[in-house]
């Protein structure tokens, strides 16, 4: 019944007519027809029937079923425990596992089951969201939110690529070790990066201590020179950099 696939559920009495709907959906999958409109309509009017089709014992499988399920995740979450929902969907649709893990991490960043899914599918928490906001005014705010959630690797990656907002977010959230790692990588690649100014804006009185802790991580003369050039407000760090300068190549 093509009209079911278009989301027209008139005349159906659910859950009694679920077998009719299942048959129509299975036929559609065999013919590579999308289920998105059907799932959306069910999400609005018959969420129990939707649950049956998506995660029930005889759940529909296949790429198109997975794509449609991804469209109605929020509706499914409202009725099913996400801790059970996401892993079940990942088991039903292994090809959509990574996408499901990303969504789970994005929606439930603190949940251990979501983190476990993320590890299983090698998802870097926060990376996709930060990537999407790279050119947005919300990027800096997002960096701070992800720093609070402990998404260090994604922030280190952005910071080491020159996004100093990510570096500052790590410092403000007191992830100093990650911040130093990111700053050292950044200075190796871009010696003129304004690391000190962003350390100052984010660490305040701790800034000089951070610079001093960063110095042993520096590997290039250009980085030491560039940092020295910017360290005039921090006499202890300046002295250390001057001492180090002749020793680095």
């Amino acid at each position: 019944m093509k009209r079911f696939l278009d989301g027209d559920l008139k005349g159906l009495e659910l859950p009694r007519d679920l077998p009719v709907l299942r048959e129509a959906a299975e036929k559609a999958l065999n013919e590579d027809e999308p289920l998105t409109d059907l799932y959306r309509a069910l999400a609005q009017r018959h969420p129990v029937a939707l649950g049956e089709l998506v995660v029930g014992p005889r759940a529909l499988r296949g790429v198109l079923a997975a794509a449609a399920a991804l469209e109605v995740l929020e509706s499914l979450e409202a009725r099913l425990n996400p801790k059970a929902l996401y892993p079940r969907l990942a088991k039903l649709h292994p090809t959509a596992g990574a996408q499901l893990a990303e969504r789970a991490l994005s929606r439930f960043p603190d949940a251990s089951w979501a983190k476990k899914m993320g590890e299983e599918f090698e998802i870097q928490p926060g990376q996709k969201e930060l990537q999407a906001l790279q050119n947005s005014d919300d990027f800096e705010q997002a960096c701070h939110a992800h720093a609070q959630l402990g998404h260090l690797q994604a922030l280190v990656e952005h910071a080491s690529n020159g996004r100093l907002e990510a570096l500052a977010a790590l410092v403000v959230a007191r992830h100093h070790e990650a911040a130093l790692r990111a700053a050292a990588m950044l200075l190796d690649d871009q010696p003129d990066a304004d690391v000190i100014a962003w350390f100052a804006a984010s660490a305040g009185p701790d800034c000089e201590r951070l610079i001093c802790q960063l110095i042993p991580h520096l590997r290039s003369k250009a980085a030491v020179q560039a940092l020295l050039h910017r360290a005039s407000a921090y006499p202890r760090a300046e002295t250390l950099l001057r001492t180090l300068l002749p020793a680095v190549r």
Partner: protein, 183 residues
Amino acid sequence: MTTRLSRCFLLGSHTLRPHCGAFQGPLDLEYGSAEVVGRIGHTLHPVEALSLATHVLEVLRTVQGDDSLSLIRSCWETLLIMPRKELGPAAGADLSLLIVAEQDSRVALSAVGLDALWQVHSEGAQQLADPTTNETSHRGLPERTPKVLELQAVNQNFLARCLGDGQKLPPILDPYLPNGSPQ
């Protein structure tokens, strides 16, 4: 090197760049100790804010005084005669500054641009000023030298919040206690 006796600290703002434009350093007081904390250009890009804050601190660190009161007066006079364009795009209207000088068992304080000022003890913190305290809450660099508050005390620590940052005291005061673990 003179040991700094009474100290002062400026709390960060509740923004994404909590210490943007902040500065802190000792001042040159021959028979005592003095320190300044402040913030200027906090809405600027961190690079511009650091450059401005460093410039103001460098200027203040050239100031000398025979006693606490003359040192504090000289600090203000030095700032007042600076060309306002050297004080950033806001021409010093966004300056917050707290000067603390200790000499002969007396502590002298002077400030502008503060929402709150506390004296910190091991028992807690006593609020000395709030946004209604004219002597400390003037927005930015004033036209005339601000007043000085003198206390009969030694080895006191002071904690401040800039104008616009509210009056919330940090839950843990240990880093700001006299002989605590100042940064």
